[in-house]
Amino acid sequence: MTATIEASPNAVPGSGAAPTTAPRRRRRMTVSARIAAGVVALIVLVAIVGPLLVGDPNAGDAARRLLPAGSAGHILGTDGQGRDVFARLIDGTRLSLLAGLVPVLFAAVVGTTLGVTAGLSGKWGHRAIMRTLDVFYAFPAVLLAIAIAAALGSGISNSIIALAVILVPPVARVAETETRRLADLDYMDAARASGASRLAIATRQVLPNVAPPVVVYCTALIGLSIVYAAGLSFLGLGVSPPTAEWGLMVSDHTQYIYTAPFLAAIPALAILVASVAFNVLGDGLRDLLDVRSEARA
């Protein structure tokens, strides 16, 4: 037997460990992530109070249609039916955000439950859950959402259900990967040996560790979900006219692409800003919580 310095039985704690190069720096969010957090907060604020501050988004004056941005009383101009674009943009924030947010919340709860269950189950339980989820990976996600939404009929709740269904599998995979990683660590064995029930292990040992990567992943997923939700509306599968909603506005405004090209760009820009903000925030959270990056949906 050769003895090593590292393995020296009498070494004072720490004496064998490789020295850290520098005192551990406290992790902080990057500037861009903090800006993104501010934008997200602003969007949420507008979603809550915005509709109370602007006038009726459906009030239109046919005589004043397609006014350019900057016209008197219409900062962003009017649309094809003479409705104020700014009012519709602000009013539509709530629905556009909800349509993207709710599916992710649903997917976070269901996906985490499935993923943790699969991760803690034996071979067959694990297989049953993960193979079933694999089936959903066999569909191009957007197309599956479209098929489900089309089958259920248009309406915002149906679009939310459709999106939730396609977002569950990737969240479940993230949760499952993390659970399996934890299950390989010693302290889980210790918990099992101490006679803790499966449910107790799941809620006390696993959940607190699975939560950070899931939160990080879902934050970025909100950005994607907002784009998808608006996309379903754009295709006529979300809210029905004349409700103000960003995706529907894009599709509304597209008819005037030659007469008022910027009109379609306004709601599209709103979708872009919201989506980028959530994506950047997700990246920032990942750095902050020191979570390894995961594959995207």
Binding site: S8, V12, P19, T21
Partner: protein
């Protein structure tokens, strides 16, 4: 830092030394700061000789080895001098450096799995190196030579191994293959950086034996990096004990390990479990080594040294001769005339 190794004139004839390192310093530079990791290391490696670098993990052994081969590129500033047969290596133009690396000086890294390209067959990785250094000119010759080399490092079925991918081999076989690549161009200096740490205990001894055998067969000089006193003891040759980026003691392995002069070396040896001695009775080194970038002024070992004096915290003692063929960087090591000479 000044180093005054006083040896007989023949031994210091640098023109014949395959490797001479003088006052080597390595500083990692990043945008925000620069840290000294190796701080004035000097030693001479003669033909057929073995030199051991022994020290705790993080003491700068691997960085010393890689600095000699200049593998850090622009990430590190390297100072001092590294010569092979009298020819200066630091600052050589890239093409000459390339023909040197793998040609005259070769590296066996710690983890054989990481040292091989996982997507290429062993044979093709060997053939590539042979081709780069012009050892074999035709494909067939290179392939034949590759199989010979694999057989030479004790691989029983070289043909099959040459056609295998790294993941198809055991850890020991992989390390043999890595060694075959390292010795493929008959290097004068072989640098082995903890070549057995990643391996099973059972194959560790075999790999060390293989290195000794290759060394004896071709007269290669070996620089062996290890944190394992047992390995150092088995290997013999000369030994340099490293602490915080500096050599603190140097001399023939048997003498240094048998009768250490520097308090750090004594601490290392005392930390070893000895048969017949109750574990609790062992002395060991208190505390942990200083992190790079935060070396204390004076002797870096002072905060942990049981024999430290007030002056130790102010002045870093140089490596001086304390006995024939032996040097140590500590006034305690030789309270006799040598210390007065240095002072």
């Amino acid at each position: 830092m000044t180093t005054s190794l006083e040896k007989d004139p023949a031994a210091t004839d640098t023109t014949v030394a395959p490797l001479q390192v003088t006052d080597l310093t390595t500083t990692f530079v990043s945008r925000h700061r620069s840290v000294d990791v190796v701080r004035g290391v000097s030693f001479t490696l003669r033909r057929g000789e073995t030199m051991m670098l022994l020290g705790e993990s993080g003491s700068g052994k691997s960085v010393t080895a890689r600095s000699i081969m200049q593998l850090y590129g622009s990430a590190a500033k390297i100072g001092g001098s590294v010569t092979m047969n009298g020819r200066e290596l630091l600052g050589l133009p890239a093409p000459e450096l390339r023909s040197l690396r793998g040609g005259q000086v070769a590296l066996i890294p710690q983890d054989p799995t990481g040292a091989l390209d996982p997507l290429r067959r062993i044979g093709s990785q060997l053939v590539e190196v042979l081709g780069v250094h012009g050892v074999a000119t035709t494909k067939q010759a290179a392939r034949r030579r590759a199989e010979e080399l694999l057989a030479m490092v004790g691989i029983p079925d070289p043909k099959r191994v040459a056609d295998s991918y790294p993941h198809q081999l055991s850890g020991g076989m992989r390390q043999r293959a890595v060694i075959a690549i390292a010795v493929s161009c008959d290097p004068q200096v072989l640098i082995a950086d903890e070549p057995t740490t990643a391996l099973d205990v059972t194959v560790q001894a075999q790999i060390l034996e293989l290195i000794v055998e290759l060394q004896q067969r071709s007269g290669t000089a070996v620089l062996m990096v290890t944190h394992d006193v047992g390995v150092a003891r088995d290997f013999g040759g000369r030994i340099g004990v490293m602490y915080a980026g500096r050599l603190v003691e140097e001399g023939p392995a048997a003498q240094v390990l048998g009768e250490p002069r520097h308090p750090y070396t004594s601490g290392l040896l005392a930390a070893l479990p000895t048969p017949g001695v109750a574990r609790g009775a062992l002395r060991s080194i208190v505390g942990s080594p200083p992190p790079v970038g935060a070396f204390p002024a004076g002797c870096a070992f002072a905060p942990r040294c049981p024999q430290a004096r007030p002056s130790c915290h102010e002045q870093d003692p140089p490596l001086v001769t304390v006995a024939p063929d032996r040097a140590a960087a500590c006034p305690v090591a030789n309270p006799g005339p040598a210390q007065e000479r240095a002072a």
